[in-house]
């Protein structure tokens, strides 16, 4: 046999606790997303530009056209939660792209052959993306005062939590597409086609109450509708909305307003279901 092998027989590392091992792998995947995020400061700055432009150029421009009761800053306040979601959208979706990219570049294989569950890898990845996205959204959130939203600690905590949830919802949407996609370009095409209607039909830019019935019907099955609505309720609890403005009408199911907590629960449920579906597709062996 080998004449050279004189070293002691290698002993495989002792099997650590299952949960501890999964936790550590998940944290590592999450941390890798953070490292990538922090090392790409230019990308970070550029992707912040779009939502800020949206809010302070388009928002201000459009707000002049609203001639309803109340001040022109109402539209800015209305638009604000939507812009938070938009700020989180690009980084959230880029997680999906990075899954496809990892597959193309080969790094994914290093993770796939590791002794961890694929769902752990996927959850770590999604939470990493959601954290990055929430950080980006957080920058926009910090500028809330410019739109006339008062700085209240409780409201900000609420908004931040809802922002994390909205980010997660968009991240898992990207992930569920990504695990079935082999090429980065295909992924971007699919996601562009998917996200435009999701954004337009969420009551993000114009209120659901102003939509024709057929359009409003679509918003009911859009998870972003509930994410935006929950955030808007949080803002309204600290902002005096003018009476009778259709801008701030809550999402309704057959005439009944959906309570904000239910909206949050719906988004959370959506995340759980989609992550489970993505994990299943991701875990399939040939």
């Amino acid at each position: 046999m080998t004449a050279t092998s004189v070293g002691p027989a290698p002993s495989a590392a002792p099997e650590p606790g299952r949960f501890a091992a999964e936790w550590r792998a998940g944290v590592m995947v999450w941390r890798r997303e953070m490292i990538h995020f922090l090392r790409n400061r230019t990308g970070m700055a550029v992707s912040l530009l779009q939502p800020l432009l949206f809010l302070y150029i388009l928002g201000i421009g459009l707000s002049r056209m609203f001639s309803g009761p109340g001040s022109s800053s109402d539209y800015m306040v209305f638009l604000f939660p939507g812009v938070l979601v938009m700020a989180a959208q690009a980084p959230a979706i880029s997680v999906g792209a990075s899954i496809v990219w990892d597959r193309e570049s080969g790094f994914l294989r290093e993770m796939l052959v590791a002794p961890v569950r694929r769902s752990t890898l996927l959850v770590g990845k999604c939470l990493g993306g959601a954290t990055v996205a929430a950080c980006q959204g957080g920058v926009v959130l910090a500028s809330a005062g410019l739109t006339g939203i008062p700085y209240r600690l409780g409201m900000f905590a609420e908004l931040l939590a809802e922002l994390v949830l909205a980010s997660l919802a968009m991240t898992v949407m990207g992930a569920v597409v990504a695990v079935r996609t082999r090429r980065v370009r295909t992924f971007h095409t699919v996601l562009t086609v998917l996200t435009a209607p999701l954004v337009f039909l969420s009551g993000l830019m114009f209120p659901v109450s102003a939509m024709p019935a057929w359009m409003a019907a679509v918003t009911v099955v859009n998870p972003l509708t509930y994410a935006v609505d929950a955030m808007r309720r949080s803002v309204l609890s600290h902002y005096d909305a003018p009476a009778g403005s259709r801008l701030f009408d809550p999402v309704r199911w057959g005439g009944h307003a959906v309570p904000p907590l239910l909206s949050v629960a719906l988004v959370a449920a959506f995340c759980a279901v989609v992550v489970a579906a993505a994990s299943r597709a991701f875990s399939r062996t040939e």
Binding site: S5, V6, P115, V116
Partner: protein
């Protein structure tokens, strides 16, 4: 003839494979492994055993089932029939243990170019849940083993192809696997870097006692292995040590240049009972043991001998014999393992 050759090749291999007679399970044991994709059989029944500590080369033309076999060995694909055990763990029932026993170096890089060398190793340590105690030392030792200690804090993006490959080998060894898989570890590297990678592999075998299982298109690399299996059309067509495989081809080739080739050829026929072929550039004879013939020929021929060249059968001859193809034709289009 074919069957006989195969048996001849297997006998010495089996003797060589016998481990130091203890209960350690073999590094790899495949029994009747079949893999089909939608009715097409990529692997048609492979039986293979690799002993602990061996260095084993897996050769085959493109499309022979090599990649599929490796995908099954590292749990990325499940066999349609048969069973695979890695260090005693079944790939289907105990994939976690299998993965823990395996170190993998793929043909294409699987490093994260945006992380440093050390971060890549730490990421690996977290994925394999290596104990935090002694981790720094292990990282240092592995980087030292492949000569990258000074570059530990450099981004992998700045590494050359050879450095990346070496870092991947270091990473594959981080968790002290029983078995290190290398898929074309030196493809795309310049000869000097190839030699360097092999020096490191030899060092790894010496220091870590790891079983090494590799695929290669370079027969000079296969030559350095304890045992070789040649796969073609989804089956193993030959298996054994390089010498045993070459023995299947049988004869050495002895080429002579003499003062009078015709006379020398006549003498070879008459005194040694050989069948020499005479051409413009000299005489060629095929004999079982060329080296033994040389002194006898020099002493026993009455003609002046200017030059004697003995060539042993090469692995190229072996490969050609078993697959009907020249391995060099394949080299350019070596398939990936994605």
């Amino acid at each position: 003839m074919f069957g006989a050759g195969q048996r001849a090749a297997r006998r010495p291999a089996a003797a060589g494979a016998a481990p130091a007679a203890h209960a350690d399970p073999p590094a790899v044991r495949m029994r009747g492994v079949v893999k089909s994709y939608g009715g097409r059989e990529a692997v048609r029944g492979i039986d293979l055993t690799v002993a602990q500590g061996e260095t084993f080369a897996f050769l085959g033309p493109n499309g022979a089932g090599k990649t599929t076999t490796i995908r099954m060995l590292c749990t990325l694909a499940a066999p349609s029939a048969g069973s695979i055990e890695i260090a005693g763990h079944d790939t289907r029932t105990a994939p976690r243990q299998v993965r823990r026993s395996l170190g993998l170096v793929f043909q294409e890089t699987t490093l994260d170019p945006e992380l440093t060398a050390e971060e890549n190793l730490r990421f690996h340590a977290d994925l394999y849940a290596l104990p935090a105690a002694g981790l720094g030392g292990r990282i240092d030792a592995m980087l030292g083993l492949v000569g990258l200690r000074e570059r530990r804090n450099s981004l992998v993006r700045t590494f050359s192809g050879g450095m990346q490959r070496r870092l991947e080998i270091a990473r594959g060894l981080m968790h002290r696997p029983r078995l290190l898989f290398l898929d074309e570890p030196t493809i795309g590297l310049d000869p000097q870097t190839r030699a360097q990678v092999w020096t490191h592999l030899a060092e790894i075998r010496r220091r870590e006692g790891t079983t090494v299982f590799l695929t290669t298109h370079y027969l000079d690399e296969a030559e350095q292995c304890d045992r070789i299996a040649i796969i073609d059309e989804g089956r193993i067509v030959a298996e054994g040590s390089p010498d045993a495989l070459k023995a299947v081809i049988g004869s050495d080739r002895v080429q002579l240049r003499t003062d009078d080739d015709e006379a020398a050829a006549a003498l070879l026929r008459a005194r040694f009972g050989l069948e020499p072929a005479v051409a413009d550039d000299g005489i060629t004879v095929r004999v079982a043991d060329g080296a033994r013939l040389v002194p006898a020929v020099c002493a026993g021929l009455d003609v002046a001998v200017y030059e004697v060249v003995v060539s042993r059968p090469s692995l190229d001859d072996v490969f050609l014999h078993f697959t009907g193809r020249d391995i060099r034709d394949d080299r350019t289009g070596a398939g990936g393992l994605s």
